[in-house]
């Protein structure tokens, strides 16, 4: 600066008239101005750096941190669902999901992102708003190759840097709705679930079990997601992964289901409506559970589209309903063994008691028909069970009265939830005078008892209930809690202190149903003492309107409950075939499952003969190719040719 000032002085000292244009000193003042200007420019620049680097450096170092570190969730795979032999029913498949990092989301990017990924813009915007507390929002699962390519080419810092692809696990369910109801499906948690105590620790956007075992054992199946800090460059590409907090996979769930029996039951219910349940009456283990019509849970994995959901939810046949535990239907004649044991135990009848069946009888001024128009003639207990004589049981019921019927019905579990480990079980109805007073504030009329005696009227059951009831009866009057998860300690719910002779008489009657030309003779299997009881149930009055709406005739539901062997039964199977009109239509279903059970038992531990043509279990069609590992032991080289 001294230099500049001295220049000034010099130019002032020299008289103006002595200067020529050639004298460079003439410009000294202007050069000084330039020098001041230069000083100003550098002060201006340095002050800018001071402001950025010294005054508030934290703001910018955080911004830089933000640029480069992305915290991403590492999704934990859900536990697998296995059958009793450890074969995989539900698996996980690696897939890719797209998430958006909330802090980088720009509202103006969303239409383009929604458009490219074929998402509904309204849904997407709504989801982002809804999950206000989540730093990251998964917006699409199961990205296709093309979608991944699109995201990777648009996630750089100058396009849509909020997008990030993460590895995810897609739930892989068997095809064609195999065991769909018992397994359930997963989906994004909804508002009402968030408020429920079962899901207290869950957050918006979590994937939870929505139904079946997936829901019941969600805590077991779900893992704990981990966290990754990922160093990314300006193209959004990962450079380095730091501080990975390990994801903890969910625990596998070993169920009591037997895939072989389940497959047979599924196939025997093809094109039908109804349900099949197989139980082990000795401990309550559920071996198979089928409900038809069914749905494909693969459509529900993760985030189902609204149209798919509506299509399934609005189907008049209610494919989502697990008929095995939620149907509430008149049991029809399958109720008769309970009437029989009640009658014997209360001594209103004995095995010598005869009634005359002319094809119907009048009680309290009403005529009640027997299903056999020309009547059974003189009939005693054994034949009454085997031939399913209605008139005989009208008389038994009339002698017992409703409250004693209810006492034995409830002992067998009718009107109570079985307590199976599945959500949303219904309890059915076991009417009694108290029940009627409570429900309708009306007195019970003796005439109503007559209908209940043959499993009609107000009595309703689910297939599981009636299977458990008759299975427990066959197992000596011991009712175990049905369950789907292996347990060393079966829960004995109720025990009937029956006279063993009385019990034996009822079981003998049920043996007659199958083996003495009774209504269930189609379940006959050489070498195995199968017992059972058919039922042809008229639709309960509440179902009348439903049936009319469906356009199907108000055809009777066919029931068959069978257990075997006669002494110390190992398996009880119920088949409900809706609108099948005649009970014998349900019998072959049960026989198939029983046969599969005893066939499997016979070959257990024994290798298959070398050249035996393995009847390939048609279970194949339920699984995507290639043959699932669970079936490989059964596939012999060349066997399929």
């Amino acid at each position: 600066m001294a230099l500049i000032q001295s220049e000034h002085r010099r130019s002032e000292e020299i008289p103006a008239d002595r200067l020529s244009r050639e004298d460079p000193k003439r410009a000294a003042g202007k050069i000084a101005i330039f020098q001041y200007l230069t000083v100003a420019v550098f002060v201006f620049l340095i002050s800018g750096f001071w402001k950025l680097q010294v005054q508030n450096p934290d703001v910018y170092s955080e911004a830089a941190e933000h640029n480069r570190i992305k915290s991403t969730p590492v999704l934990a795979p859900r536990g697998k669902i296995l059958d009793r032999d450890g074969r995989v029913i539900v698996d996980n498949k690696a897939s890719y999901s797209l998430l958006l990092n909330r802090e980088q989301i720009k509202p103006e990017h969303l239409p383009a992102i929604a458009d490219a990924l074929q998402l509904d813009y309204g849904d997407l915007a709504g989801k982002i708003r809804r999950m206000g507390n989540r730093p990251q929002i998964i917006i699409k699962d199961q990205l296709t190759r093309d979608e991944i390519a699109w995201v990777e080419s648009h996630q750089d810092a100058s396009a849509y840097p909020e997008m990030q692809i993460i590895r995810a696990w897609r739930r892989q369910y068997p095809q064609d709705g195999f065991a769909a109801h018992v397994i359930g499906y997963v989906g994004e948690i909804n508002e009402s679930e968030l408020d429920s105590p079962q899901f207290i620790d869950y957050h918006q956007g979590d994937i939870i079990g929505k139904d079946g075992l997936e829901r019941q054992y969600d805590q077991t199946l779900r893992g704990v997601d981990g966290q990754q800090r990922v160093l990314v460059d300006n193209m959004g590409h990962e450079r380095q992964v730091e501080n990975a907090q390990e994801a903890v996979p969910g625990k596998d769930l070993r169920t009591t289901l037997d895939l072989d029996l389940q497959a047979v039951a599924e196939l025997s219910m093809e094109e039908k409506r109804g349900s099949v349940v197989a139980l082990d009456p000795r401990n309550g283990a559920v071996l198979a559970m089928v409900s038809r019509p069914t749905f494909d849970p693969n459509k529900f994995t993760g985030r189902i589209s609204r149209t798919d959901w509506n299509e399934i939810a609005n189907d008049p046949h209610k494919p989502l309903m697990n008929r095995a535990i939620q149907a509430q239907l008149a049991p029809g004649s399958t109720f008769k063994p309970i009437m029989a044991i009640a009658g014997l135990e209360t001594s209103v009848i004995d095995d010598e008691t005869h009634f005359h069946c002319p094809g119907g009888a009048s009680f309290y001024g009403h005529y009640f028909a027997c299903h056999l128009k020309h009547g059974h003639g003189d009939i005693e207990l054994h034949r009454a069970i085997a031939q399913s004589c209605d008139v005989f049981f009208y008389n038994v019921g009339n002698r017992l009265g409703i409250d004693r019927i209810a006492q034995y019905g409830e002992l067998a579990g009718i009107g109570h939830k079985t307590g199976i480990d599945l959500p949303n079980e219904t309890q059915g109805t076991m009417p009694s005078s108290k029940w009627k007073l409570r429900m309708f504030r009306q007195k019970w009329y003796a005439g109503e008892t007559i209908s209940v005696s043959i499993g009609q009227g107000a009595v309703t059951v689910s297939p599981l209930q009636i299977a458990a009831a008759l299975g427990g009866l066959g197992a000596g009057g011991r009712w175990y809690k049905p369950h789907l998860i292996e347990s060393d300690h079966p829960v004995l719910l109720r025990k009937g202190n029956f006279n063993p002779e009385n019990l034996q008489k009822v079981i003998a009657g049920m043996y007659g149903v199958v083996n003495e030309g009774g209504t269930g003779r189609a379940a006959y299997m050489p070498g195995i003492k199968v017992c059972g009881k058919t039922g042809t149930a008229q639709l309960a009055s509440s179902d009348v309107t439903k049936g009319a709406k469906l356009g199907s005739a108000l055809a009777n539901n066919a029931w068959f409950v069978g257990f075997a062997p006669m002494d110390n039964p190992e398996i009880v199977v119920v088949a409900l075939f809706e609108n099948a009109e005649e009970s014998y239509n349900a019998v072959p279903i049960v026989r198939d499952v029983l046969k599969a059970y005893f066939d499997k038992k016979a070959r257990e531990g024994k290798p298959l003969p070398e050249n035996q043509t393995v009847r390939l279990n048609p279970v194949f069609k339920f699984f995507s190719d290639p043959a699932p590992a669970m079936l490989r032991p059964y596939v012999q080289p060349g066997a399929s040719r």
Partner: protein
């Protein structure tokens, strides 16, 4: 005219400051590009600097009066070169700025600067009146305006704007009546909005994002925001060489050229940039000092033209890095990687030395 000009008489302080800045530049280029596709930019830059020093030596040996005498041919030559660039030049990123000569890709507009400095100096020296009159002013503006328009059409707004300070500085040094100055300022104020109309959309975007970078943080404002983040991330002492996340994770666009100072600021912090800016200040002041000691008006105009150009480059480039100037895409002299600019700066410094070496003559 003295024949013997000892090496001793070269402007050594200027040379030392120049080499210090080049060294900072080469180190920073190395640090910013290590492991990227530009990772051999640093030794290329060494080559540019070494050859640039040779050119500077040659330029300082030439008598600037001889150059001024031939400036008309130079001017015609550079107009021809710009037209040739437009015709046969390489089109990169939508603009035609480069021409291939003997294996080198040269940005012709960089060398036009030198010719314009000489042209302005020659023109103003030839005027014998006390102050410029309208006719001279318009003539000179036309001379400078023609190549400016040609470069603007390439399009390369940044480089074409660097020609303006040469003209402005020369005119102000020659002396301009206050009345004229006011009239010119008035006309400029009115014509600027019209000029805005002729800007390309991306140039308008740059202006808008300069005024408000947060308006579109991932678009044109992106570079400014990321550059400011990089500078701020440096803090007082810097992140250290090769430790800067903004530079090395690619958030800074081309950190070895236009945004090299941003990368430098991230790695060396406030302390580093103060040192670098002091060096630039010394560089410009040393050039100005040569203007003051020049033996004649011609030498003064040449040196002041160089000083004004360097000041403009530093102001616009460094100002852009901290978001105080719009993104125009002009390099930082001596530090940014690139041959044409380095050579042209060394040639200009050669002219300054040429003036210096002849200061005792006459």
């Amino acid at each position: 005219m003295a024949v013997y000009r000892p090496v001793r008489d070269l402007d050594w302080p200027l040379l030392i400051v120049t080499l210090a800045l080049c060294t900072l530049g080469i180190l920073q280029i190395y640090s910013a590009t290590v492991g990227t596709k530009w990772q051999d930019a640093w030794w290329k830059q060494i080559l540019w600097v070494a050859t640039g020093l040779g050119m500077m030596w040659v330029a300082s040996m030439l008598d600037y009066h001889a150059l001024l005498g031939r400036v008309f041919y130079f001017y015609i030559g550079c107009l021809g070169l710009l037209i040739a660039t437009a015709v046969i030049g390489n089109r990169v990123f939508g603009s035609t700025r480069w021409i291939k000569v003997a294996g080198f890709t040269l940005q012709t507009s960089e060398f036009v600067k030198i010719v314009l400095i000489l042209l302005v100096a020659k023109f103003l020296t030839d005027i014998k009146s006390e102050t410029l009159d309208w006719r001279d002013l318009l003539k000179l503006t036309a001379y400078v305006g023609l190549p400016t328009l040609l470069v603007m059409k390439q399009p390369d707004l940044g480089t074409s704007l660097t020609y303006i300070p040469i003209l402005v500085c020369g005119v102000l040094m020659a002396g301009l009546r206050w009345k004229y100055l006011l009239i010119i300022s008035g006309i400029l104020l009115f014509t600027l909005p019209i000029g805005h109309h002729f800007l390309k959309p991306y140039q308008k975007d740059r202006l808008v994002s300069f005024i408000n970078p947060d308006r579109d943080p991932k678009g044109t404002g992106f570079q400014v925001i990321q550059s400011r983040i990089a500078v701020g991330n440096g803090g007082m002492w810097g992140r250290g060489a090769k430790e800067s996340s903004q530079t090395h994770l690619g958030f800074l666009p081309v950190p070895q050229t236009d945004f090299i100072f941003s990368s430098f600021a991230e790695e060396h912090g406030f302390v580093g940039i103060v040192i670098a800016l002091v060096l630039y200040f010394l560089l410009i002041m040393q050039v100005v000092q040569n203007a003051q000691t020049a033996t004649d008006r011609a030498g003064l105009y040449v040196c002041m033209g160089v000083a004004a150009l360097l000041l403009f480059h530093v102001l616009v480039n460094v100002g852009m890095v901290i978001g105080r100037m719009p993104v125009t895409g002009i390099p930082l002299p001596l530090m940014s990687s690139g041959g044409s600019n380095t050579w042209s700066v060394f040639l200009m410094l050669g002219l300054v030395n040429s003036v210096r070496l002849r200061r005792f003559v006459n």
